[in-house]
Symmetry: C2
């Protein structure tokens, strides 16, 4: 167990915060609810961005950038959207400061009041659809397939690093289509991209499904989501993709002439994932020794620690470490040699364990003499001695194994924590004693969902996309139901 | 000349705006002073980011992310900084909206007033140095070499797309060092990175120099800059690197224990370039046919236009176009095949000319039969017929030639527009009739600089780093001077 790290089993919440801090991922800032993403945490985000950005481009999307400010009146244009987003937000009212008359600093210049307040974007549908109006005349101008990497602000009252912060980083895709079918296919395609990313890169299995009306995005006709399970048995929504119908086109008057010459409203989707994914990554894999990272998202995949007793040994061993690094870098592995003299090997071992580096290579004089290397896996905490001359192949194989193993462990955990409940009693027992995803019948009404949430804090995470139809009775009301839905307490 | 494009010689300002619009780079948004960066414009920014980000990482820097909000009081902590930055800025005063009592929409909730107003960052020295205080105890914690890619807001009254907008995108490096020497070296190193980037990627020659006290960054001891010359003879500051001394460390109480065990203030630098560079790129190379892009920053380096008269030809020619594309993509050239049937070749030729695509390949049936291709260069507007079987080599060679030619043209222009002035009369004649960089003696005082600016709108762009010392007399006051400085009217 790493020094000063809380035990996951004892205080999950503190364990999470400890990892964020000790692994150097982020810290709270002087601004309430806003975090500083430190270089190591940001490097994980860069890896995520690179993989996602390639997937977006491979599916035909381009990046663009829209203003951070949204005129207040824009929010009132889409009835559902205003309820969901215009409330807890940062409002810019003035555009100038001036010296305080008493010399005490600067104060707001009341002469510089904006005619209309500007809202810092909590999401960009409104400003983007206001722009799309000028881009679309004919069906030839469609589809528009655009993504934006940006910061957004939602004035959350209870914040938690990565999981819920006032400002966060994300990407938001906003697409415009000539037909309902095409827009719906796009929303489903991007859900597929998110699901592939979560599973292939983050090594986290996810459920794909739709949200109930209560949990739907404000302004959407249908919200698709991927839901992941954390090690404390709570669910985490890892990404959403919305079919927006013609709601925003109607609100912002975006029409096009169809190939049949008819004037029609444009169909829309939007979809996003955020720095919250880093929170999911931490909670899905880490242990009492610290962060555990899947190799595909690890800023450092292999750390090499030279071990020596004197200057002569140091020279020999560090030279070997750098030679090994060169070999690995050639096969596109990201490698760090830590030859700092001020820290002992044991201290370094602990450091990179806490930081979740997937593979550690230790090299001592005897290894150099024998042509061997000691490799330690972060996921299993096991060590092995390997031949130096096949190191590139060995590392490639082990990194693949670690990636697969993390996914399998997470999948096993999810399967062990996915349970059917047929009665209200069972449902409550499961929530309190086991957690995880609970498959239960629900009568399909918003009222029942709301009552279940009030009484148990559990929500419907999703209605799985490929759900088996099965008749049953609602666990809460006893009314008839045609399928089970997925309940859980969630982040 | 491209359709609907103003002539550069007749109305430079309109010509610039036309290119921004017709090439699909950006447009004004519904928010005063904020632009929408459209996909083609953003793709240029992505190319710039990729190149710069690699240069920053190769010089040891990591990326991180700091809050967009800065508490108002932070600005008052550094005396010079508050004068320069705290004035024209976006001020967040409230964190909630509510439904208007009369049902007319949403209004600011006066109950949700912030205790202390938050400023949208115009630059991040203050919030970052407030954070660094917690990161630095000993000399072992130094240097800190961090860069941030972010949006910033400065409430400019007169805005112009890319060149001056209320919100813009940039990167800001913020480094912390144990010694003055190390910080000064860092500031100079990053100026070198900017200069290399401008010359190698943007194909724009730049002058490296220091700013006069009047033009220095608010809070800096020394501001280094690169200055470029636009085709209308006006200068454009393309990047700055600041040696901040211990000013911010003192303002935010950031101290460290030196290797000698003494408690000392940390030394700082900051440096940045922004989306303004896209404005420079447009103005440095473009012509009356539209945008001209250096190949290293062109989102599309080669466009292939198939030419055919019937379906049979179309099939043959498009297949060949795609085969050529595959060959070029393998040598890392970014290629687009435009096989849209709805547009004629001539229309497409014009389209890619306006968009500044460096090379255009046209393929007709006869080309396929002869094993030839027609290549047209955007920079010289010349065409040539080349053998298809050596196309990868030909394209690589031509792209290199275009990159070099653009640089050479820009350098020739700058040299032809760099002139010495020895009298006030000469100085004014040059400004009004020729423009460009004017090398003139100045008495070294802020008052004289200010008066010259008031009377002529020319400012001191920089004091060149490797300046020849030369005795002379100030063109304005006649007082003695030891070196010429660079004057120009500027963006």
């Amino acid at each position: 167990m790493a020094k000063d790290l809380s035990m996951r089993e004892e205080n999950y919440s503190k364990w999470y915060n400890d990892i964020v801090q000790k692994a150097g991922l982020a810290e709270n800032s002087a601004v309430r609810g806003c975090m500083v993403i430190k270089p190591y945490g940001y490097a994980i985000w860069e890896k995520m961005q690179a993989a996602l950005d390639k997937m977006f481009k491979d599916t035909g999307h381009s990046n663009a950038y829209f203003p951070i400010f949204i005129p207040k009146s824009f929010f009132s244009k889409e009835a559902a959207h205003v309820e969901g987003f215009a409330k807890e937000c940062a409002v810019v009212t003035h555009y100038r400061l001036k010296n305080a008359p008493d010399g005490s600093g600067v104060v707001v210049d009341e002469d510089a009041k904006l005619d209309e307040e500007l809202i810092i974007r909590p999401t960009s549908e409104t400003i983007i659809w206001d722009t799309y109006r000028g881009w679309v005349q004919s069906y030839r101008d469609l589809p528009i397939l655009i993504n934006q990497w940006a910061n957004v602000v939602r004035w959350e009252m209870r914040t938690r690093m990565f999981l819920r912060t006032a400002e966060f980083l994300w990407q938001e895709g906003h697409t415009a289509h000539a037909t309902e079918k095409e827009a719906m296919e796009e929303a489903e395609r991007m859900l597929g991209v998110y699901s592939d990313f979560a599973q292939s890169f983050m090594a986290i299995p996810v459920l794909k499904g739709t949200k109930s009306a209560n949990e739907r995005f404000a302004g959407a006709i249908e919200t698709f989501c991927i839901e992941a399970l954390m090690q404390d048995g709570k669910a985490l929504q890892a990404g959403t993709s919305h079919f927006l119908g013609q709601n925003f086109a109607k609100a912002f008057d975006v029409k096009f002439t169809s190939s049949e010459g008819k004037l029609e409203y444009v169909w829309a989707t939007s979809w996003g994932v955020s720095t919250r994914l880093i929170g999911a990554l931490i909670m899905a894999h880490s242990d009492n020794h610290g962060l555990v990272l899947p190799p595909k998202l690890a800023p450092i995949q292999v750390v090499i620690v030279p071990i020596y007793k004197n200057d002569e040994q140091r020279q020999l061993v560090v030279a070997k470490a750098n030679a090994i690094k060169d070999i690995l870098v050639k096969s596109n592995v990201s490698v760090k040699v830590d030859d700092r003299d001020a820290y002992k090997p044991g201290w370094k071992f602990n450091e990179y364990e806490v930081k979740g580096v997937p593979l550690r290579i230790a090299i001592g004089q005897r290894d150099v003499e024998n042509g061997t290397l000691e490799l330690a896996r972060r996921d299993t905490l096991t060590k092995g001695v390997y031949q130096e001359d096949a190191i590139a192949e060995t590392v490639a194989k082990l990194l693949d194994e670690i990636q697969e193993n993390l996914y399998k462990k997470a999948l096993d955990f999810r399967e062990a924590h996915t349970t059917k409940a047929d009665t209200w009693q069972e449902f409550n027992d499961l929530l309190d004693n086991k957690g995880g995803f609970i498959l239960a019948h629900w009568d399909g009404t918003a009222e029942t969902e709301e009552k279940i949430k009030e009484e148990t804090k559990a929500t419907i995470r999703c209605i799985p996309l490929e759900n088996n139809l099965e008749t049953g009775v609602c666990i809460y009301t006893g009314k008839p139901s045609s399928q089970r839905v997925v309940f859980a307490r969630a982040y």
